[in-house]
Amino acid sequence: MTWRSWLKIGLLLAPGLGLILIFIGSVVYIAIAQSFGYYNLAGESGFSLEYWAIMFDRATYSRAISYSLYVGTASAFLAVAFAYPLAIWLRRPFSGSLMISAILKAPLLVHGLVAAFLYINIISYHGILNQLMQWLGIWDGPHRLQNDRNAVGVLILQTWKNMPFALLLLAGAVQSISDDVLDAAADLGAGPWDRFRRVIAPLSVSATQAALVIIFIGALADFSFQVIAGPVNKQSLSQLMVFFKGYGRWNDAAVVAVTLMGLAIVGSGVLAVFSRFVMRGGRLK
């Protein structure tokens, strides 16, 4: 291409893409710069690796990384695992299927904080779940379910909230597979599991990748579910970031923020490649 056509394309893209790049770029730039000691709001600015070095030595930091990765990955896989069978079940319309898929998408309309609040209400020490289990005679006394150590509460909430989103993506992909193609697979000897493995999964790789990555990024940076329903002895990266910010330690907060972005990028890539590899039966191409 000549420099003229480059210029033309550049000018055409400038109003849209340019604005986006300026906004996102400046935020990302400031975060990265702050993590290396620039834009220090409290003291002297200048290049320094000190914030990263100290952060790497903090146990809370490495614990927050593994905890956030755990929540992000587990939420993404759980949401997709629940959405897949539903998408396949709802593939062909039947009477009532429209209603069911509408109800399943209801969590999209409930804000995360509200959902978390309702959830802890239900599982609280004197909440309905405890009362029900005792009334049924399954439990002798009330159990402490809130803020459990393994973040089961957070995972339940993340899955509940994100499953409809995964369902939306997967249903589109699964519905575009024609009945004849699935019939052909059955005709050639593929039972339900083989039909899934050899036809449905490879034909819905892109939707699955998109669902896994987007849910992973959201859950990796979870704050609201974690604050309300998460374990008290563990912090997520977002929590840690807000903690530093609360003390005016912007450079430390920036280190956590950059970590979060880095993990989002690397984790997404790993998830995308992994899911493609698995769903195409061990091949990437």
Binding site: D187, L188, G189
Partner: protein
């Protein structure tokens, strides 16, 4: 034991009955063609045999085993789909091998079958391509090859050659027959090309509105249609209303028709006094004869290469005569006669 045995099969979609009370058998190694107009239930019948649909009533046996309720993957059938139904994410080679991998056939055997079928249906150079990189006819041949390569007890073809040109159709047709014979597959072949049906089949089943109208060897169907639908559908016979006005000797009947008085010869007597009769266009004998001589004004002519169709009207309905060279000499009218044995009795007029 028959490879396929269908008894009183009925399939209803809500109120609509697509297949009604169909019964037939296909022996091992037999090639049966299902012939009928669009929407008569051919694909539905194949779907029932494959197991994609569950019949409303009736039974299907494959190799003597009742398969009602048995899922498609456990039936030893393979279908060549009318819509091709290729796997869009797999190459031609992987499409062809899909069923063989499912059967866990050893690698060497798989490769051998693959290259065999690919060369027979002319797909050798296309093996590495994806379905969306193929022409319509090539896709259709992949669908065909994917079923043939399985060598199942029962193979079902749903218009497998509809998208091929005349020459290719001829050669693929021969390959289908050769493979089917070699592995003694019971074949059910759907087509609405009557020429194909007559050329390929051991037996033809003619369907209309979900019912089997007539079944038999191709020459029997052609020579002795039992109803005006079959007579018209196969070979486009000329059909007339007739009234029996007398019997001459043991086998000859005198008939009153709109084309004049005709004499018909038949081993079986007419089914009613008022009935339909038919005669084939190519059976018309040029010039007048002892019996059944007709002179008519030519309405129009259509040159077909090795013969010419001449049309005339009888009581508003077009009748057709097929003549060779002699058609060229005719201008305004034609005189021909029909031999009594070439007039066929059909069903009664209600």
């Amino acid at each position: 034991m028959d490879a396929v045995s269908v008894r009183n099969l009925t399939m209803k979609f809500d109120e609509f009955t697509a297949v009604r009370d169909v019964s037939f058998d296909v022996a091992r190694g037999e090639f049966v063609t299902l012939l009928g107009p669009s929407g008569c239930g051919k694909t539905t019948l194949l779907n029932l045999i494959s197991g994609f649909l569950q019949p409303t009533s009736g039974t299907i046996e494959i190799e003597g085993k009742n398969v009602i309720g048995v899922p498609p993957e456990q039936r030893n059938t393979a279908m060549c789909f009318q819509s091709y139904a290729l796997f869009p994410h797999l190459t031609v080679a992987d499409n062809l091998q899909f069923g063989l991998k499912q059967k866990k056939l050893p690698h060497a055997e798989r490769k051998a079958r693959l290259s065999d079928v690919a060369s027979k249906i002319g797909l050798g150079p296309q093996l590495a391509k994806l379905p969306n990189q193929l022409s319509g006819g090539q896709q259709q041949r992949v669908a065909l090859g994917r079923a043939l390569v399985m060598r199942p007890n029962v193979i079902l073809f749903d218009e497998p050659l509809s998208n091929l040109d005349a020459k290719l159709r001829e050669s693929v047709r021969l390959e289908i027959r050769a493979i089917q014979r070699e592995y003694k597959l019971a074949a059910i072949y759907v087509t609405h090309d009557q020429g194909e049906a007559l050329a390929m089949s051991d037996r033809i089943l003619i369907m209309k509105d979900g019912r089997i109208q007539q079944s038999g060897r191709p020459d029997r169907i052609y020579k002795a249609p039992e109803s005006s639908f079959v007579a018209d559908f196969i070979g486009g016979a000329n059909i007339l209303d007739a009234t029996v006005i007398g019997q001459v000797g043991e086998k000859n009947w005198r008939l009153d028709t709109k084309m004049g008085e005709l004499t018909a010869q038949s081993d079986t007597p007419p089914v009613a006094k008022e009935l339909k009769i038919c005669w084939r266009a190519e059976k018309a004998q040029f010039g007048s004869g002892d019996l059944n001589t007709v002179t008519a004004d030519i309405a129009h002519r259509s040159f077909q290469g090795n013969y010419t169709d001449l049309f005339f009207t009888v009581d508003g309905a077009l009748q057709r005569v097929q003549l060779g060279e002699e058609a060229g000499e005719l201008s305004a009218s034609i005189t021909f006669h029909i031999r009594p044995e070439d007039i066929i009795f059909l069903e009664a007029i209600k």
